[in-house]
């Protein structure tokens, strides 16, 4: 099932986009408030623009969780959509390391200057739109409440040079009987701290979650983002992971890592897309198992041959179609409706053991 034809008035919709580089979450809170968290490009423009343009509604709240280059492509064009009631961000300092690089990809980081300039201008002339998303800060959007669970203001200010992921703003959205955990890129050890600062049940007993930091697992140089503080709970929670295409990529499909660990806690894992071109690009959804995905049998990556038995995997480029998204929807009592899987996304279970 692709995008919903129309949105039911009484449901909350959570669109999660993630084409392999970047992520964006667009949440429609009944009756017509849009909350958008981060931005990425899908189909040649800011992903969140698609549902807003298609279904219409109020530009209620726009949040940049952290100034990392996989979270703001197209964010400037979301700001240009119109005047947002609330503009949220915690860390507003720019790391200007791209001004003289010979890499055109990095030069694109300059869009962040545009984003921050607009924030500064809007926060100055409309102080009421300011939302500094330090831990504990809340915003009411209609009858819903957004609560930032990370980062702690004092800690962030004392650690301005910290890994930007750990300065990112994870957010809890509560609407009637629905609770969404938007994990941003927060990694460990901070999930422990978050569950201690907030009612642990709030964090783990969510209806749906955008899994933090692309479902990263602990490695020799990272503590990963998976933590029982948010992961332990009912196995029917709706989890969606956005992939990250750098190097070997995230989430890991190997045994005991990333996806496998996540599937210990939930029975189904939605992945907005894969950073590579694959055989099931047009299936919706592409239902598979982690093992088949791991082994490359379903979906099959599309490869090209290089001389000497070398193989390359084609990436998704120059594609103007709307793809790589998953849509969850819930009514006020917490009832879940079948998710919509966009082209390129996959739905993963573990093989029966």
């Amino acid at each position: 099932m692709m995008q919903p034809k129309q949105l039911e008035d009484d449901r909350l919709y959570m669109f999660v986009f993630g084409p392999g580089f970047g992520e964006s979450i667009a949440i429609r809170i009944p009756p017509n408030d849009w909350v958008v968290v981060d931005s990425c490009l899908v189909g040649g423009s800011a992903a969140a623009k698609h549902p807003i343009a298609q279904y219409g509604g109020q530009l209620s709240c726009l949040v940049l969780t952290h100034p990392h280059r996989d979270h703001y492509p197209g964010f400037d064009s979301l700001l240009e959509l119109g005047q947002w009631d609330v503009l949220g961000a915690s860390d507003t300092t720019l790391d200007i390391d791209y001004q003289k690089t010979a890499n055109p990809k990095k030069r694109l980081n300059a869009t962040l200057e545009q984003v921050m300039s607009t924030y500064l201008q809007q926060w100055t002339i409309r102080p009421q739109c300011t939302w500094r998303t330090w831990r504990g800060a809340t915003k009411k959007i209609g009858v819903a409440t957004l609560t930032s669970v990370h980062p702690d203001e004092k800690w962030a200010q004392a650690n301005a040079g910290a890994n930007p992921n750990n300065l990112s703003s994870a957010i809890l959205l509560e609407w009637e009987g629905v609770r969404l955990l938007l994990g941003a890129d927060v990694e460990n050890p901070f999930w422990q701290e978050i569950t201690e600062k907030f009612d642990a049940r709030l964090i783990s007993q969510h209806t749906a979650a955008k899994v933090p930091h692309h479902g990263s697992h602990a490695t020799s140089h990272s503590q990963g983002a998976i933590h029982k503080g948010w992961s332990a709970g009912d196995d029917n929670r709706n989890w969606v992971v956005t992939p990250y295409n750098k190097g070997r990529g995230l989430p890991s499909k190997e045994d005991g890592e990333g996806a496998d660990q996540l599937l210990d806690s939930v029975s189904v894992l939605a992945l907005t897309g894969l950073p590579i071109r694959h055989s099931a690009q047009q299936d919706s959804p592409c239902e598979t198992t982690r093992q088949a995905w791991r082994d490359g049998t379903k979906p099959k990556p599309i490869t090209i041959d290089l001389p000497g038995d070398r193989v390359g995997t084609l990436t998704q480029t120059h594609d103007s179609s709307l793809k790589c998204y998953v849509v969850f929807s819930f009514t006020a009592d917490g009832t879940q409706y079948p998710p919509h899987y966009g082209p390129g996304s996959i739905q993963i279970r573990n093989e029966e053991s």
Binding site: L79, N103, K105, L108, M116, Q122, L306, T313
Partner: protein, 668 residues
């Protein structure tokens, strides 16, 4: 230099015809530079006075911030000398009185027996093909000029270069070789020697050129000048050779000193000031060459002709420290002159103000008469001293005195903008300037760039459309350089690629994008960033997208290796280093209508080290490289692009697009 007999004859002939002609009429004296127009005008002044008319001579500095000031003050002091301005001088020199009111007053004082003599009238303002670039003062001057010519309250005589105008005019022909009429002062012998060597007549040279050649012969020798005649092709070239000869010789050092300094004084100068400007080595001989052959003289005051004033040598001859010293000397000189008083003390004071302003001084005690005089001061403070806060104060005063002063408003906005100071005042100043003068491309580009810089991109788009509607590039191609280039440049540097491309697409003809390096760099930059946005990047910025997909690699990959031919090459970027593996992104060239195809692959430490002269240990993310495949079994060689920065875009002005963010502490 003494005036030639021929000019005296002309003046004697023309004087009565003006005096006897109708009282409300204009005469145009036409002639090329160097033919003696200014000198003739001076002679006419005398002639007309003798016939009981009341001449007023106007020769303001050309294309200066204070051209209007001088034109008005010369008219005012001229009127006063004829007893026609009674007590109104107070209003003329009151900077709070609007220009229009001053002009009404001055023109209103003119009587039928006045003759206004305007020297080189067309150059009081900027060329007509580019009216949009006139600063405020040029509108003032233009206004005064129009009033003088159209209201016909008295006779007006003005000099200009030849043109097809059918109005009654007086031609000054070129010198025809009849040297008898020209005065060479004490250097007549040198002239005759030179003329004999070259072979009289000196066909086709002007009065000025004949004297200049003589001066050159004095400084070198008639034989030297004759040997080079006529290997120059214009007056500028002769002036250049003359200056070179002067600067090479110790004997003429004082003359060189005078000729490099005098152009910075815009009024006629006294013999005493000539000596000061000539410095310690200004011998009697130097002085004679200057006064007999090079400078024009009127009532014991000397002026330097245009060719000597504006030659490139003059611009290059003083280092900035010397120039500063010169302006200090001049400021002090005029201070003394002002204190001594005199007929036209206001002109001396305005000149003193100019030198003080050029130094960036704000309290040298010269009174301000016209708001436009502040612009020289504002410019020095802003562009030379980079004291933008002080410049803001000056421009605030300028617009307070003259609220219709677009130039003042614009630079008030600019100097605030550079400092990221008061976005509100910046906005209103920029907008006011555009409202007063919609034709100025800089006004638009700086305003649009302010909107982009402060994150108001939607407004920038709508203002861009308005700018395009207001300005007509067909009439002025410079608009592409003053509007399109800075706007596209900032947009590109802010990675607003689609908007930047839209701006560049408006450039017509599109060949300009290829012909002008600055446009070409921007155009390439946008293509590279667009590709990176929609796909990936496998070439560093220094390789133009036009050259991405050549058949040959860009780096030094050999055509064969270990006896095997290069069968294929791919560009690549190191996407990540993970332990002993380099993750690469590569691409295949575009085919027919389909774009380049990007793919990921890996190389191990071992493979890399075997294939490259560089070491895997030194490999970092985002290095660009090219991989060559040799033979069917895939032997590879790798060459790396140097790990270097790329900074090929034009500098922005204001220079730092992060200034507002820095001010807020959001950027380092």
């Amino acid at each position: 230099m003494p005036v030639s007999q021929e000019l005296i004859d002309r003046a004697t002939e023309l004087g009565p015809s003006i005096a006897d002609g109708p009282a409300k009429k204009s005469w145009i004296i036409k002639g090329n530079y160097g033919t003696g127009k200014s000198a003739l005008l001076q002679l006419l002044r005398q002639q007309l006075s003798n016939r009981n008319l009341r001449p007023i001579f106007l020769a303001p500095p050309k294309k200066a911030f204070d051209t209007g000031t001088f034109a008005a003050l010369q008219l005012a002091t001229g009127l006063r000398s004829h007893g026609q301005l009674n007590g109104e001088m107070g209003d003329i020199i009151n900077p709070s009185v609007p220009w229009q009111q001053k002009v009404d007053l001055l023109v209103g004082c003119l009587r039928e027996d006045n003759v206004v003599l305007c020297d080189d009238l067309e150059r009081w303002t900027t060329p007509s093909f580019d009216p949009s670039f006139c600063p405020f003062t040029h509108r003032n001057v233009e206004n005064l000029r129009q009033r003088l010519l159209t209201e016909q309250r008295c006779r007006v005589v003005f000099t200009t270069r030849p043109s097809g105008s059918p109005e009654e005019n007086y031609w000054l022909p070129k010198y025809t070789g009849n040297a008898s009429g020209i005065s060479f002062g004490q250097f007549a012998d040198v002239y005759h020697d030179l003329a004999n060597r070259i072979g009289v007549p000196l066909q086709g040279v002007t009065w000025f050129e004949a004297r200049l050649l003589t001066a050159w012969a004095v400084v070198t020798s008639p034989a030297n000048v004759a040997s080079e005649f006529p290997s120059w092709n214009d007056t500028w070239a002769i002036v250049g050779r003359f200056f070179t000869a002067v600067s090479k010789s110790d004997k003429w050092q004082g003359l060189g000193s005078l000729l490099s300094r005098l152009p910075h004084v815009r009024t006629a100068v006294s013999s005493e000031l000539l000596g000061i400007l000539g410095g310690g080595n200004f011998s009697e001989e130097c002085k004679c060459v200057a006064t007999d052959l090079l400078l024009t003289e009127c009532d014991g005051q000397f002026s330097i002709p245009r060719f000597l004033r504006q030659h490139k040598w003059v611009k290059d001859s003083l280092i900035s420290k010397e120039l500063t010293e010169l302006h200090k000397d001049l400021k002090n000189h005029f201070k003394i002159q002002v204190n001594a008083g005199g007929d036209a003390v206001e002109l001396l004071e305005a000149e003193g103000f100019y030198h003080s302003a050029t130094l960036g001084n704000q309290d040298d005690g010269f009174r301000l008469f016209f708001a436009e005089q502040l612009h020289a001061l504002g410019k020095t403070l802003s562009f030379e001293k980079k004291d933008y806060a002080a410049a803001v104060i000056v421009y605030r005063k300028s617009v307070e005195l003259a609220p219709d002063n677009d130039y003042g408003h614009h630079y008030l906005g600019y100097n605030l903008d550079v400092q990221a100071e008061s976005a509100e005042e910046t906005e209103s100043a920029y907008m006011r300037a555009i409202k007063l003068n919609t034709d100025h491309p800089w006004y638009w580009s700086r305003w649009i760039n302010f909107l982009i810089t402060t994150g108001r991109i939607g407004e920038a788009r709508s203002q861009w459309r308005e700018a395009i509607a207001a300005l007509d590039p067909i009439e002025n191609m410079g608009i592409y350089h003053s509007l399109h280039l800075p706007v596209a440049n900032l947009l590109a540097q802010r990675a607003q690629i689609d908007f930047a491309k839209q701006v560049l697409d408006d450039v017509d003809p599109p060949q300009l994008l290829k012909q002008d390096n600055r446009f070409q760099s921007l155009h390439d930059y946008c293509i590279a960033l667009k590709e990176a946005q929609e796909a990936d990047a496998v070439f560093p910025l220094k390789i133009s997208p036009d050259n991405w997909w050549t058949t040959h690699p860009h780096l030094g990959l050999p055509t064969s290796f270990a006896g095997k031919a290069l069968i294929r090459w791919v560009p690549a970027r190191v996407d990540a280093i993970e332990g002993d593996v380099a993750c690469l992104v590569s691409a295949h060239p575009p085919q027919d209508d389909s774009p380049a195809e990007y793919f990921k692959w890996t190389l191990s430490r071992q493979e890399f080290n075997d294939a490259s002269t560089e070491r895997f240990a030194g490999l970092t993310e985002d290095r660009f490289l090219e991989v060559g495949f040799y033979g069917a079994d895939g032997l590879i060689r790798i060459c790396l692009h140097p790990d270097e920065q790329w900074d090929n875009l034009t500098r922005l002005d204001p220079p730092d697009p992060l200034r507002y963010l820095r001010k807020a502490g959001w950027a380092q």
